[in-house]
Subunit: 596 residues, 2 copies
C-alpha cells in the first residue's frame, strides 16, 4: 500500500523564494493571498489529500465504478470524501466571489490540483472536470447560464464534463456526428453518442453539467460547423430547483487499464435538451477554453503521479535490504545494506527527483502567467502571458505526462518483483499515469500543436519572448562564478534548441512533414530547456539564501545537488533530440504504408 505526502515545503520555496509571489499583488486575488494564508490553505489541503483522499486510491482501483440501470455507483468512500471536499470549500477556492468563490489566485488552485492528483488521480478527475466546465461557462455562457450553473459548480454541488469524442472521431473532431436540432424555443435537441466521458455519470453530486460538442444541421462542414451546448443531467427550473431528468444517460462504463475509480462513460444523447454556449459554430473556441485548463491539469497529473511513485520508491529503497555497497558495507551490523546505497537505485531516484522538482517549478511559473493572462488589468501583460501559456501548454501536457509515466515505471522497478504485485500499489500508479499521455490530446498532437502552430504563431513572438527571458537570465547569472555549473549547460542546451528551431523553420515551411517528423523530439527538447531554466533559477535562489545564511541549509544544498544532477544527467539528451530532428522526414517517411 502506498503513502503520500503533499510537497508543501517545495511549493513554498517556489512561491515565496523563487517566483516571489508578492510581486503579483496588483492582480486580483493575490492581495489576500499572504504567505501565511497560503501556508494555512496548503497545509489544510495537504492534510485532506493525505488523510482522506489517498487512502481511497487503492480502494477505487480495486472496486471501480459500477453501472446498474443507468445509475453509476462510485467506489466505497468516494461519495463521502467528495461531500467533505465540497463542504471544505475546495471547489470554490479560485472561483469568482460573484458566484460564491473565494477568488484566490489560480496558482493556488493549481498547487492543490497537484496534491489531489498525487493522492488520488481518479478521485481528482470528478472535480477537475468541473473546473473546466466552470471556466467555459464563465467565459462563453449567457448571463442566465452563468447564474444557473456557476454557483453550483463553485460550491461543488454539481460537477461538469466535457463531451468531445465519438467512436469514430477523437483527434479529428470535424468528423463528428452528434446533431443539435433547434427547437425554436432557444433550446436544441441533442442526439448522438459520446465516448470516453470522464465523470459522465456518478453518485457524487445532484446534477452533472455536460458541455457537449455537436453540429447544427445546415452549418459548415467539418470542424467549422461544431457548436458547444450545455446539457444538464437534470433540467433546472427558473428558480434553480431541479426538475425532470434530461434525455441523456450513461450507456456503458469503459473497462480501462487504470483510473478505475473514475467513471469513464459512453453517453447517449436521445434528443436531450441543450442550450447553445458561445454562438453557433463557435464550439471549438469555447471548447479550447476548457481544453487549455484541462491540458494543464493533465500535465499536473503526470507530475503528481511521478511524485507519488517517487515517494514510495524512496521509502522502499531506504527500507529494503539487499546486498552490500560496492564501496564497503554501510550497515555492517545488519545482514545487508538498504538498497539506496546502490548507484543504479540512486540514479533512478535522482532522475525522478530532478524531474519532479523542475516540473513543479515549471507548472507554478506557468500558473502565475495564467493568473496574469486571466486577471491582469494590463493588456500587454495579459498578451505576453497568453503567449507564454500557448507556447508552454503543449510542453507541460506532453513532457510532464510522458516523463511522469516513465518515472512511475522506473519507481516501480526499484521494488523489484514486489513492484509487479498489486499489493505494493506501484503497478496502479503505472496504470493510472498511462492515461495522461493519451487524453486531452494525445502527446503526438501536443507536439504537432507546438511545432506547427505555437512556434510559428505571430511570427514566432512567443518563442522569442521565452528565449529573451532565458537569455537575460543567462547574461546576468553568467557573471556569477558559482552559477557556472548551471549556466553553462543551460546555455549549451539553449543553443541546441535554437539550432533545432532554425532547422525546423528552414525545412518545415517547404515541407510540413519535415517539422512533424521532429515534433515529439522538439517538444521534449523544449521541455528539457525549460526545466533546466527552472533549475538554474532555483539554484541561484538557493545559493543566495545559503550565502545570506537564512533558510534550511540541508534543503537548499539538496536543491543545488539535484539541480547539478539535472544538468549533468538529464539535460544532455538535447543532443540526441537535435540529431534526430535534423535527420528530417526522409528516414521516417521512407517506407510506403504497404511496405511496413
Amino acid at each position: 500500500m502506498t503513502t503520500y505526502q503533499a510537497p508543501v515545503r517545495d511549493v513554498e520555496f517556489l512561491l515565496n523564494d523563487v517566483f516571489e509571489m508578492e510581486r503579483y499583488s496588483n492582480i486580483a486575488g493575490f492581495g489576500e493571498a499572504t504567505p501565511d494564508l497560503v501556508k494555512a490553505i496548503l497545509e489544510e489541503g495537504a492534510k485532506f489529500c493525505e488523510e482522506v483522499i489517498h487512502p481511497l486510491n487503492a480502494v477505487g482501483d480495486r472496486e471501480g465504478c459500477v453501472l446498474n440501470d443507468g445509475v453509476v455507483t462510485t467506489p466505497t468512500g468516494f461519495a463521502d470524501a467528495y461531500r467533505r471536499f465540497a463542504e471544505g470549500g475546495w471547489p470554490a477556492l479560485c472561483a469568482d466571489p460573484e458566484h460564491g468563490g473565494q477568488g484566490l489566485p489560480l496558482t493556488i488552485g493549481v498547487v492543490l490540483s497537484e496534491f489531489i492528483a498525487g493522492a488520488n488521480m481518479a478521485f481528482g478527475m470528478y472535480s477537475g472536470l468541473s473546473r473546466g466546465a466552470y471556466e467555459a461557462l464563465a467565459k462563453h455562457g449567457t448571463p442566465e447560464q452563468k447564474a444557473t450553473y456557476l454557483p453550483r459548480l463553485a460550491s461543488g454541488e454539481w460537477t461538469g464534463t466535457m463531451n468531445l469524442t465519438e467512436p469514430h472521431c477523437g483527434t479529428d473532431l470535424g468528423l463528428m456526428r452528434t446533431r443539435a436540432e433547434p427547437r425554436g424555443d432557444g433550446s436544441y435537441a441533442i442526439t448522438g453518442t459520446k465516448i470516453f466521458i470522464s465523470a459522465g455519470e456518478h453518485d457524487l453530486a445532484d446534477n452533472i453539467v455536460h458541455l457537449v460538442l455537436a453540429k447544427i444541421p445546415g452549418g459548415p462542414d467539418g470542424i467549422k460547423g461544431v457548436s458547444l451546448f450545455v446539457v444538464p443531467k437534470v433540467l433546472v427550473a427558473d428558480d434553480g430547483s431541479l426538475g425532470a431528468r434530461n434525455a441523456v444517460s450513461c450507456g456503458a462504463l469503459e473497462e480501462k487499464m487504470g483510473i478505475h475509480g473514475n467513471s469513464t462513460c459512453v453517453m447517449n444523447y436521445d434528443g436531450a435538451t441543450g442550450w447553445l454556449v458561445g454562438g453557433e459554430h463557435k464550439g471549438m473556441r469555447a471548447m479550447f477554453t476548457m481544453m487549455n485548463a484541462a491540458r494543464l491539469g493533465v500535465g499536473i497529473q503526470g507530475l503528481a503521479q511521478s511524485e507519488l511513485a517517487y515517494q514510495n520508491a524512496l521509502a522502499y529503497a531506504r527500507d529494503r535490504r539487499q546486498g552490500r555497497a560496492l564501496t564497503g558495507a554501510k550497515a555492517p551490523d545488519q545482514p545487508a545494506d538498504p538498497i539506496i546505497v546502490h548507484p543504479d537505485i540512486r540514479r533512478i531516484l535522482m532522475n525522478i527527483k530532478a524531474f519532479n522538482e523542475g516540473a513543479r517549478a515549471l507548472v507554478l511559473w506557468s500558473a502565475l502567467r495564467e493568473d496574469v493572462a486571466e486577471r491582469s488589468a494590463d493588456e500587454d501583460d495579459r498578451a505576453r502571458a497568453e503567449d507564454h501559456m500557448g507556447l508552454l501548454m503543449p510542453v507541460l501536457k506532453g513532457v510532464l505526462t510522458d516523463t511522469g509515466f516513465a518515472n512511475a515505471v522506473a519507481a516501480q522497478q526499484v521494488f523489484g518483483g514486489h513492484g509487479y504485485i498489486r499489493e505494493s500499489g506501484m503497478e496502479q500508479i503505472v496504470r493510472d499515469a498511462r492515461i495522461a499521455m493519451i487524453y486531452e490530446g494525445a502527446n503526438g498532437i501536443q507536439a504537432l500543436d507546438l511545432v506547427g502552430r505555437k512556434l510559428p504563431a505571430d511570427g514566432g513572438r512567443a518563442l522569442r519572448a521565452f528565449l529573451a527571458e532565458v537569455g537575460a537570465f543567462l547574461a546576468e547569472a553568467g557573471a556569477e562564478e558559482a552559477m557556472a555549473g548551471y549556466v553553462v549547460p543551460l546555455g549549451s542546451a539553449v543553443k541546441d534548441l535554437q539550432d533545432a528551431v532554425g532547422w525546423l523553420m528552414k525545412n518545415g515551411t517547404a515541407n510540413p512533414d519535415e517539422a512533424a517528423a521532429g515534433s515529439t523530439d522538439f517538444m521534449h527538447m523544449f521541455g528539457l530547456v525549460a526545466l533546466a531554466y527552472m533549475w538554474a533559477m532555483m539554484a541561484r535562489k538557493a545559493q543566495a539564501r545559503l550565502t545570506n545564511g537564512d533558510g534550511d541549509r540541508a534543503f537548499l544544498e539538496a536543491k543545488l545537488a539535484t539541480g547539478a544532477y539535472f544538468m549533468q544527467r538529464l539535460l544532455p539528451e538535447t543532443k540526441a533530440h537535435l540529431a534526430r530532428i535534423v535527420s528530417g522526414a526522409a528516414p521516417v517517411m521512407a517506407l510506403d504504408a504497404d511496405a511496413f
Copy 2:
C-alpha cells in the same frame, strides 16, 4: 482484440542469408536442419502459435489462474492447448535424442520461443521454465536424476520450475532461509517458503519438477552455502511411476499487474523430499545454467511482446482514419486519411520496427553462438562462444526488455484512447511486457553484471573479441561506397563505446561506484552498438542480394530503409549515454540517503 503473425519470413532471411546457418553443419543437429526442414518446422510452429495459443492470450488475462484447496486451475483452454503442444513434440525440439528429443539446433528452439512468447507470453512460461530445468539437470544431475526427469520434461508430460526468491531476498540470495536437512538416505528434507514461483502449481501436467535453492545446515554463510535440489511435486518410484504427493504446496497465488494466465505461486516446502543436484554448496553454479537460459528467454519475451504490439499498432494505423496528411489528402475520396500518413505515427512504427528486426538478429546471432558453446567439438570455438554469451546475455536481457516494454507503450499510444480500453488488447501487452524488466535479475542487476563482471572478465577478452569482429566488418564493408550510410554511423557509435569502456576502466577500478553509476547507460549503449552491427550486416546482405537481383525486392529495400532509420534515429542516443557515463558517480551519489 489483438492478432499475431509469427515473423517467419524475417527469421528465414536471418538464418539463411545473414547468418548462413549452413556454415554450422559440423555442429550436432545442424546437419539435419536443412532449410526445407527448418521452413516446415517454423511454419508449423507459427500456425500453432497463431491459431491455438494466441486466441488464448486475452482469455488468460481475463480469467487468470484460480487456487482452490491447493489446486491451481489455469484459464479455459490452456490445458487443452498445452496437451496439443506436448503432443506436437514442441518441448522435445532441441532436447537430446537420448532423452527422446529431436536434437535440433538450440537456435530453432529460440526462434520458436519468440513465436510462443509473442502469441501468449503467460502460456509460454509453463514450457519455458521446463527448458531451464531440463538444462540444469542435463548438466548437473546424476545419471539417475537424468533418467528419471529428462525424458518426461522433453516429452512435456512434466514441467519444471526455478525456486530462488524468498520474501526477504531476491537479488541477494545469500540471505536465503530455506533449509535442507540431510536425512541420511541420500535425500534431504526441504523446509521454507519461496515466492514469485512461475508455474509453481497448475493443471497442465502430471508432475512438476521443482529446482529449489536451499542451505544445508553447517555450510558456509551467505551465497557460498547455497545448494540446489530437485523436488518433484509427486514422488517418483524407481520404475518411473508416480507415487505419493511430496510435502510441497502452493500457499497462494500472487495478484499481479499482468501475465495473469501464468500461475505465480507462493510455494511452501514443509519437509519436502529433495535430492541434491550438482554437489553440496554448489547451488549457484547449477542455478546459473538455468538463469542463463532463462535470461535469454526473458530477453526474447521483450522482443516478442514488442513485435505483437507493433503488428497491432500497424494494423490500426492503416485502418483508423483521422485528419489529413500535412502534405495533402492521401485518400481524398474518404472523410479522412488513415493515421499512418502522419509522420509522428510513422516515427513510432519505424522506431519499433527498426528495433524489433535488429533485436531478432541479435537474438539469433547469439543463439547460434549458444549452439557452438553447447555442442561444438572444438574447444576454442566453445570458449569463444561462451565469452560471447557471457558478454551479450545481460545486454539481451536488459535492453530487449526495457526497449520492448517502451515499444509496447508507444504502440498503445497509436490507438489513442482506444489503447487504454481493455478490449483493444494493447494495455495487456504493456502489463505483460512489464514483468520482463524485473524477473530473472532486474535490469539494473543485468547492467551491473555487464559492467562489473563481464567487461573485466579475463582481462576484457570477451569485449576485445566483440570489438575485433565489428572492427573487421567495418574494415571490409567500409570499402563499399553503398555501405557508407551504415558503416559511418556504426563506426562512430563504436568509438563512443570505446570511449565509455576507457572511462569505466580508468575510473571504475579505483571506485566501483563510478562504474555502477553508468552501468545502465552502458548496457543500453552496448545494445545500440550491437543492434547497429546487426543492421549493418543485414543491410550488406540485402544490398548484395539486390545487386544480384535475387530475392524479394520490396522486402530487401524495406530492410535497407529500416536499417538507415536505425542509424539516423536510434543510434545517436549513444552520445547521450556517453555524456551521462562520463559525468560519473558524483552527481548520482551527491545526496546523503537522508537528504532525498
